[in-house]
Symmetry: D2
């Protein structure tokens, strides 16, 4: 990796914009093996906000026009953290301008647009990575290694749940989030996170069934109530390439759940379980040794789970959500350098999008459908 | 309730036979408000075993012929704990002989037979109760009360999982349990337990979808391998009368799970969660009070949850599996006395059976089906 | 064991009286290898109550005079479940009358009286066992086996906590429980339970230090307030014969704790942890295998942990508090039959009493004291 | 706060050096309300290492001589992260040079040296803060607020445990850590963390008792074995100003514990519990509402717990260990700006040191001692 760090342009300055900024700020200090990225410029549609956030996040310049970033020779990579509907135009333009792209999930609000993004990445030959940071948890990598080593044998059954409660209150007013333009609801709003874990750990879906529900048919809109367009609850049944069956349940109206992604992977030798609300723990059961002392063991993250040790040299001290993004950033740098990287590419992301759309259509038609 | 206790005949002396026997032995001492049942006779197909178990369990007499019990005037109620395939003939004969019947779940291996049992109970006008003891947990009754009081509001989404690992080892030899004659597999083998909880707490299913899987296509049978007929893994999607959606996952090949029935009930004001592997705890989240101190609370069973206090006057000391049967036994006595009882009757049990068969057919046909 | 079961006389019919009665009722049915005890007579100071409880619990006769039980030839063993202050007189008289004795913990309210009980047992040559039922948990036996097998190596440090909240409310009125005559408070009221576990699992204490506290100096007594005599909170530091150090914390005013006995045993190869509020689980950590997959494993009780299987043949179904007493009853029958039994004898119980008194004195004097 | 950020000099580049560096890197971007600190220079005794780490951590310059930092006008504050024995000389010199000081805990290896540090800070009138970052957890601040609001009433009893396993293996070779020069062992090595929480949440200790143990009398030293000087296990009993009693247990040879600080605070209305190994959760029990639904509630950290929302705007996404240091850094900036800050000052830190030494002396003398 060259001594002069990559030049970074950031588009967007909200939740994930800040998360990307922190990752770019930290990656060199945490990992110690890459040149510090240069935080060149931040773009936000509101110029004043762009200027303020650039100052806060440590970017040298700011602009109200994201296309400005594409013109600059000192920018090598574009972080895209805008609302989903803007991803395709921005990512494709950036790739066409010869930039690497690190774009937040999901790719787009239509399969056609996501396909265009994949195609643009393919033509450009640049790094085109998606922001699926939950796969970056060192313990998720540990799970991947355990699965590869067949520690729990061949997988036959899998369950994923993803639950939060930001839509749980029926009195939460109608916003764009409940409009058809925002997509299907829980399924693509955050269901893509478990889908990214399924893809990473277990492989591609071949057939799916779906069921989507509206817990609240209407929401208040100031004047009265307005019909909700999309689905706060989504359930999918899936078959994977290897034959395993998956049940996926998503609920963004699940009171009390704050960031739960509960995963259970059943194999013919053992079981793995994980809850994102306790992201520093994973549960492993192996059918091994005397029955009287078998049990699920709680593995606590530590330096044995790379790259945990880059953050803290002592086990059990715990990583947080933003740390996962820093790990992802390091993987993006690997990809840019042409090294093998643990990432969801646009090509792989397209499979996730295709799965989402297949589930939604299967739900509407009440029958199993093939993916892709 | 009269001073002279009910005369009891027990058919079967295995796992559930002993469980019924202990319930009959304990019910008067635990509750203190019923006359002690008279343990008249125990029937088991093997006369010597019947004699031995009668001695152990405290029954006065024994027989190798279960019909003997029906002839006796000093027997008022028959506990049926034989393999499922014998339930219909025994239950119907007992009812026709004017006996009350307490029969282990599930009712039968065919819907037709279960329907005959329901009809026989209806004609006989006797108590005809099923052994769905998980609904007897004082904390499940507490959940029922919380639901009735709308503490978590209107229910929109529900998840049930039931998992054990007695079929998890692919080297476990082929037995009758894997044969078509034993039924569908996980779905009716133990999936009826969560179905009994769903029925009790949330109401009847109207439409279902299903998916059933064989983790192991064959099992060893001494000479080589034999094709497995039924499904160790079953998943169902359900709609309930009230409109709530249910996802039910059953896996009897789930390594490390020993008696897990994990239930999550989501309402518009809160959430309830419960795990049968920790049957003395229930989790309750209510959207109430300052957000900064909201959280799932772990309620530990105690005298505030009747009839816990009949077993131990101090909270947190914990009930066990067999205690639930004793509670069920007290409910059976209530039913016999013509009092309102918290039980699954043959009529209600038939709904569970109909649901099971609908799920299996929906799985085969890959589409939603109405129940009943 | 002879065919005719032991004749039982029960003194007391409260919390523990009922618990003993249930154990006597169940022991033969559960274990299947002992003759059913004969429930001969129940004594309670109030004759009517004695009669009522005898009926409920299944005892053939009742009396208002406990000494009546000692006269009867058809009674072999006396269960003593009266308030602690009555234990010495009753136990000694029973032993002198040639009866076996099963007496609830603790032995007595003075060390002198406990010593007399030990002496009477020694002279009588009869079984004289104490009701320390927490040591009967199959998982506690499993812990004992793991310790004996040095699975966690040599023990150097141990922590026990015992907490309940029946004295947590400062508005709970003054009762005899807070009077000097009831003893030291938390230390002997229930601290003897962890002491019984320490003795059973780890051996005798040699030196102790103590600290006892009154969270509430006074309690309401109807007219106003009354000074509390004893200590709802007690802490002890102990050295054991083998050199291990123990910290014991007891709090009967611990809001939210219902029956917590949290135990942590640290060895040079691993750690064991257990919480009585989840009595069907034990935690085991062993320094073994790759660090990346080490962790505390949660062992769930099952047939691999004898005698769990006598209650339920399937794992994970859970035992309850009363089941532990039935196991203890089986051990008492073993002792009576002259077989090795897993019990706390009067001689061993005296060590617990001596430890309690030494801790209390050490607390008063603010220095380490030798035990015994 | 002025527009030009504070100039920072960092001494030390190990575990805590990196942790400070990350905090300085992140504080402005995370909080958005402070000027970005200028990372001026990093000092490490090894010049090459200093240069390398300066590059990695983003410091403009480096030096092998820490006193160089004190000469520079462009440095306003010195982060001290060297081994404990160097703290006094460095901190005092920095204060005398007119710099603010942020020094890692504990202060020093002798009470005299710590007192000199406190005196130097008093004379200098500069910010002199200690690196007790566990008190910075937003949930710990929430606990502090709950205590101040008397949500669990008046506190009478407290338990703290701090356990890790980096000294658990008896085969771990003798290092400086086991030498007398390193201090008492577990008590000051990490026991000061719970002491910082006790001081922050509950107030000062007035009297203490102690007990310190060596689980392994010797450790291998290459040639054979060498006697261990200090104590891997330490227990303290404490009385606080307000009258509450505290039991503190520390064990750095506790197999399986990775970063456990388990805290239980008992009041006359409720209980709070917290485990540092799950730093995003706190447990609260309040005696309020119907007994049947009382229970410990698990509060998951979120934006309701400031300043969590500065890191992630969504609840349940979790903070990590390094985030706590960033929060602490923001408090240091507050202190420098003359604003009220949530920090342990040198003056307060001296109380922690005095408590440590009193516990050690009490352990040696086997009696209660006053603190200070």
């Amino acid at each position: 990796m060259n001594k002069r760090g990559l030049g970074v342009g950031l588009v967007g300055s909200g939740f994930m914009g800040k998360c990307h900024a922190l990752a770019w700020l930290n990656v060199a200090a945490v990992f110690g093996d890459v040149a510090a990225p240069r935080l060149v410029a931040l773009a936000d549609a509101t110029p004043d906000l762009a200027a303020q956030k650039a100052r806060e996040f440590g970017f040298a310049e700011s602009t109200g026009t994201w296309r400005d970033l594409l013109q600059r020779d000192d920018i090598d990579i574009i972080s895209i953290t805008t609302p989903n509907e803007f991803h395709p135009e921005m990512a494709i333009a950036a790739l066409e301008a010869g930039k690497h792209v690190w774009c937040e999930k999901p790719m787009a609000t239509s399969l056609a647009a996501a396909t265009s993004m994949r195609d643009a990445a393919s033509v450009a030959g640049k790094t085109a990575a998606l922001g699926y940071n939950y796969i970056q948890n060192p313990l998720i990598r540990q799970v991947k290694a355990l699965l590869a080593d067949k520690v729990i044998g061949d997988i036959n059954h899998v369950r994923f749940e993803m639950d939060e409660d930001y839509m749980a209150d029926p009195l939460t007013p109608f916003t764009g989030r409940s409009a058809a333009s925002a997509g299907y609801g829980a399924l693509d709003d955050f269901g893509v996170h478990p889908l990214s874990l399924i893809l990473t750990l277990l492989g591609k879906a071949t057939r799916v069934f779906g069921d989507m529900r509206k817990p609240y048919a209407t929401r208040p809109d100031g004047k009265g109530t307005r019909a909700v367009d999309n689905f706060d609850i989504a359930t999918a049944l899936m078959e994977l390439e290897g034959g395993a069956q998956v049940t996926l349940s998503c609920n963004r109206s699940a009171w009390g759940r704050k960031g739960r992604i509960f995963m259970q992977i059943f194999g013919n030798k053992g079981t793995l379980a994980y809850d994102q609300e306790r992201l520093n723990e994973v549960q492993l059961f192996v059918n091994d040794g005397p029955v009287a002392t078998q049990g699920f063991r709680t593995i606590i993250s530590g330096p044995a789970h790379a790259p945990y040790g880059r953050f803290v040299p002592a086990p059990g001290h715990q990583l947080g959500f933003n740390d996962l993004k820093t790990i992802e950033c390091r993987e993006v740098l690997r990809a840019v350098a042409g090294e093998p990287a643990h990432l969801i590419s646009f090509a792989e992301g397209l499979h996730i999008e295709a799965t989402v759309h297949a589930i939604a259509r299967a739900a509407a038609e009440g029958r199993w459908l093939a993916v892709g």
